[in-house]
Symmetry: D3
């Protein structure tokens, strides 16, 4: 049985993230989705909100959602995962992720596999989606409905 | 149970290939290694020799080795694999492999995962190794012993 | 009035090419499509066949289709175009095309603009499509219907 | 008639920007230059100063200069432009700009064309120029004379 | 006699830096190591600490260690060096460094040479090492012993 | 005293090559220029012609010009050079050259340094220059006068 860990900020989850997770569910037996808590950044959605969004999106799948702070490899070892999986969109993603993968393998012996996003989602990023939503642009083809609603609510609260 | 397909020319297998396959064996339940027969190229080792080399290197592992000609996705469907895995060394590898992965997913619905090589093997390629061996350079830190012997024999036959 | 030149091998035209040409038609007043005749390569479709395919696909648009051999900039000067446009899929395309653009501007003073392909077509290339069609794989989502028929006919003739 | 929109921070405009705008003037009938106002950043020159600089540099050309805050595509739709044009220096520019282009086309249907900079200006960026000027280095081969004077004045005010 | 300047933040020096410096010592007659003081950033180790670390690591070599603020090329001219050398790990490093090299050559006529890191150190960066050390991860295979101790001390002071 | 080896095909030498060699002459004490003889390719100019061209271009400099077949590192060891230097134009050059540099260092312990070309020459390559000259295009701003004459003569002989 293969358990894979899928880490990320997911602030918020986009259709690109959903697509990578769906693909991993078709390949691995179980999936742990690990939301990074970075104390030096102020996220749009706090870790509990992000956990709740992803749990709601994958409530019928063999998915555990959790958040962590600190070293990814320590979290991976606690969860006893077999492998780390990361979505890849572009060449610039690739270089940074390769560097992280080599660091993580050196620290823990756990390998990282890369999952390319589908081309239609290749241009999506959480930060671009937030920028569009902040100015009232339409994001409903870029994120799941519950995320689009949460974005609309968050930015209307801001005004 | 997850069965992964690992395609390549393997002409000949290098320590980079071995390292990618070893890592896949730690992640997936079974591995099918698929040697590409390309009728428009003349390999240094014919398909049967390459199958025999890899079978010998992984004789104690849950590995099936076979060769194919034609579309990779048809071979993948015949073998009923769950996923295709490809080693990645560099950015230029990544772009071509991403294009192939998207084509293969469009044709068959089978995803491709990418496995980064360890940094020590990142500069190895079958064609570089052949060029070194052709001129009598030392390749024993770059390929398994049985491949080094086969290279030495092949090029001494040539002279 | 702006006339743009869109050069390429188009052996055969794919949905990626069609998409780039359609976009150029929405931007420029007239388009000259220039099919490169490269005497050192054997194309699958000869220049006349490729001209006929593209003329048929754009018969209702302000498009002139022609083929040429030799320097692109000389052909561009004969046709009195204002600008050269090239589709771009990936980073590796970009570097080569940038080098060609700088050479062509040095030789003729004519600028090159780059048109990114839509993400859905980013993985398409004439050579990949030919490889799939050669082995009888389905290409009807990758090329226009008349190209799919021409490919099927060409490869069935081969057998 | 083709109207193109050329967006950017232009803080300050460099010879690289000037070169891209000059080239666009040779291709398109009219040009709208759109200066991005980003409320979360403190520019060296405020939007009005940047508008004045560019207006002064192109006072004899069919160029409209304006600034905007918010979504580029909304500004593009207000100005009824046919196409967005962006200068491209390097591979890393290309990936980010491609992502933005795909997002903007999804939101508005407006295509983005890329204009490569001439090689001599490929290393110039507003931030590098500011860094050189801040320490009193010579920038007169990198920016127009009026920008060089504005930089000298701004940094002497700072001391 | 060739004197080379090797600039960087070195906050802290990693095995990747050490490896690049060792290689330069095998090629050039003398080496000036220039630690950048950037007043807009708060380093983990101040300039004096970084100078002391590198002096200690290369106390038996023809190495001068100094820090500077301002333009690298002015410092290079003061030190009368013949060439600037920079370590290169990845493609993304390369593009930025190429831009800097061209700017520096334009400003001073001094060329920059690039030294590739050994593959084993290609994934190391000062910021990744600090992140691992901050969370108590093992960094002794990534930095010299005296740096590992300084990191442990610095982060235990923080707690 | 530092002796550097500068290998390449130089078929023919372009202004990009000349620029890299001139820069190396400003940095290193002596330069060995090594022309690769590749028996599986048919060059436009044979090795003796290329040696003569480069000798003529650098007849007043501390430059030794020679050709070799086989492994570069063996030739480097025979010539007792301290370092290999390679010109770099683009990201795609960089990845291939990095792979070669790591292979060569593994085989011989000799490091490779990279010299970036000046931006004006970044688009030049021997193969592009030959293509332009073959069709009678002007190459006199791209190669030294003696190379332009040799190209004109060679291609007029062909007709």
């Amino acid at each position: 049985m293969t358990v894979a860990l899928c880490p990320g900020s997911f602030d918020p989850p986009t259709n690109g993230h959903i697509d990578v997770i769906r693909r991993c569910l078709g390949i691995f037996d179980e999936l742990v989705i690990a939301i990074v808590r970075n104390p030096s950044k102020t996220p749009l959605f706090d870790a509990a909100e992000r956990v709740a969004m992803i749990e709601s999106l994958f409530k019928d799948d063999p998915v555990e959602v959790d958040s962590f702070e600190g070293l990814l490899v320590e979290f991976a070892q606690q969860k006893r995962v077999d492998v780390i999986v990361k979505g890849l969109r572009a060449v610039s993603d690739f270089e940074y992720e390769l560097q992280m993968a080599q660091m993580n393998e050196t620290l823990s012996g756990i390998s990282t596999l890369f999952v390319p996003t589908t081309p239609e989602n290749g241009f999506l990023s959480s930060s671009l989606v937030k920028e569009v939503a902040r100015f009232g642009g339409p994001v409903d083809t870029m994120v799941p409905a519950l995320v689009a609603e949460a974005l609309a609510k968050r930015f209307s609260d801001d005004r």
